[in-house]
């Protein structure tokens, strides 16, 4: 027993001498092996490269007015965006009785986030948009008409990451004011919806 105490004291003295002499501390123990791969770090800009889908409702004004619904998909690249949309509208006019039409429109837009503000997990974007579209107008009586159009618009968006630091899941609100310039007519379109995606 006395021998053990003496050895312990000698070892402690030797350790103290080593620390006083400036020797580096022993390396920390290696971490235990991981079974599940760790989550990859988020991008440097956590708001970059989003892909969202948006169901939306709106109104369309063209020598009369219409209710519209729209489904769209949007991909962002930093400040640049590309959006594709499909819209359906039920149009009628006050000028001529019993005249109405169902309008389908497929469009593609390029957008630029002219203004944006990030607040914690939230981004507020204001985009300028320009694009082209194809319209199929089916009157209640008569033959259908196809026409192309050019669109100019502005998009306002509030999009928080509802998963915070855990992951990226975007869910917010978006509104777009869009002017459709076709061969014979100009249309004002307002759509509002909920973008959701990653």
């Amino acid at each position: 027993m006395k021998a053990l105490v003496a050895v312990a004291m000698l070892a402690g003295a030797a350790r103290a001498d080593a620390l006083l002499a400036g020797d580096p501390p022993p390396p920390p123990p290696a971490p235990p092996p991981t079974i599940v791969a760790p989550r990859p770090p988020l991008a440097s800009d956590p708001f970059a490269d989003r892909l969202t889908l948006t169901p939306a409702v709106g109104a369309l004004f063209r020598s009369g007015d219409a209710m519209a619904v729209e489904a769209s998909v949007t991909r962002t690249f930093d400040r640049a965006e590309v959006a594709a949309s499909y819209s359906l509208a039920s149009w009628s006019t006050d000028r001529v009785p019993r005249v109405g039409a169902t309008i389908q429109r497929a469009g593609v837009e390029a957008r630029y986030q002219a203004l944006r503000k990030r607040v914690d997990d939230l981004t507020l974007d204001l985009c300028a948009a320009a694009g082209v579209g194809w319209e199929h107008v089916a009157p209640d009586a008569g033959s259908s008409v196809d026409l192309g159009d050019v669109s100019l618009g502005a998009v306002a968006r509030m999009l928080p990451n509802i998963e915070h630091d855990r992951d990226r899941v975007w869910f917010g609100m978006e509104a777009e004011l869009r002017v459709l310039i076709a061969r014979d007519d100009t249309t004002l379109m307002l759509v509002w919806g909920f973008p959701i995606g990653r």
Binding site: V57, A71, A89, P97, R98, D140, G142, V169, G193, I196
Partner: protein, 186 residues
Amino acid sequence: MRLAAALVCVAATARADVASGPSWSGPHGSGSLDFAVGAVPAGTVRGFAAPGGHADVGVELGRLRLQATGDLALWTDTAMDAPAARSVAPPTASGTFARLGVGARWTIAALAHDRSMRIYVEGDLGRQWLPIASRDDVGFGFGIAQAARLGATTLGGQFGIRVLVAPAAPHDDVSLFVVLGVGLGR
């Protein structure tokens, strides 16, 4: 008639809260009750359906949901909004829009760590009744549904767009709806 149909919609939604099982993982019941607004044409008569309600009740089997839907709304001939049109073409009788349908919903994506945010598409076959017509149709939908677990039940909301296509000449009648409401399930 309107009251009876409204009671049926409410009862169907409440009745959805009967199945058991954890959300998403096993068969379980769910339902929703929504506010709905829509445009419903019938031939050359353009009608507007508002205010209205939409209800659905279904059984969820993973991503698939088998469901029955019901709609009820006040339907108005939009020509009533146009004095010039009214003098030339008297508006039709306004009244009730009602619809029943049976179909399915498919969750195309479930987001968030608990998969509580879902993006869905849906389709159904139905029949609709208007003051001036009754007809069969095909319905399509796209939207977002969210649910949070509260003990043994789930409570959430949904927002979606719905399109009803009824055969007609020379072009099919296409009705548009937006629905926004609450969901309940187990």
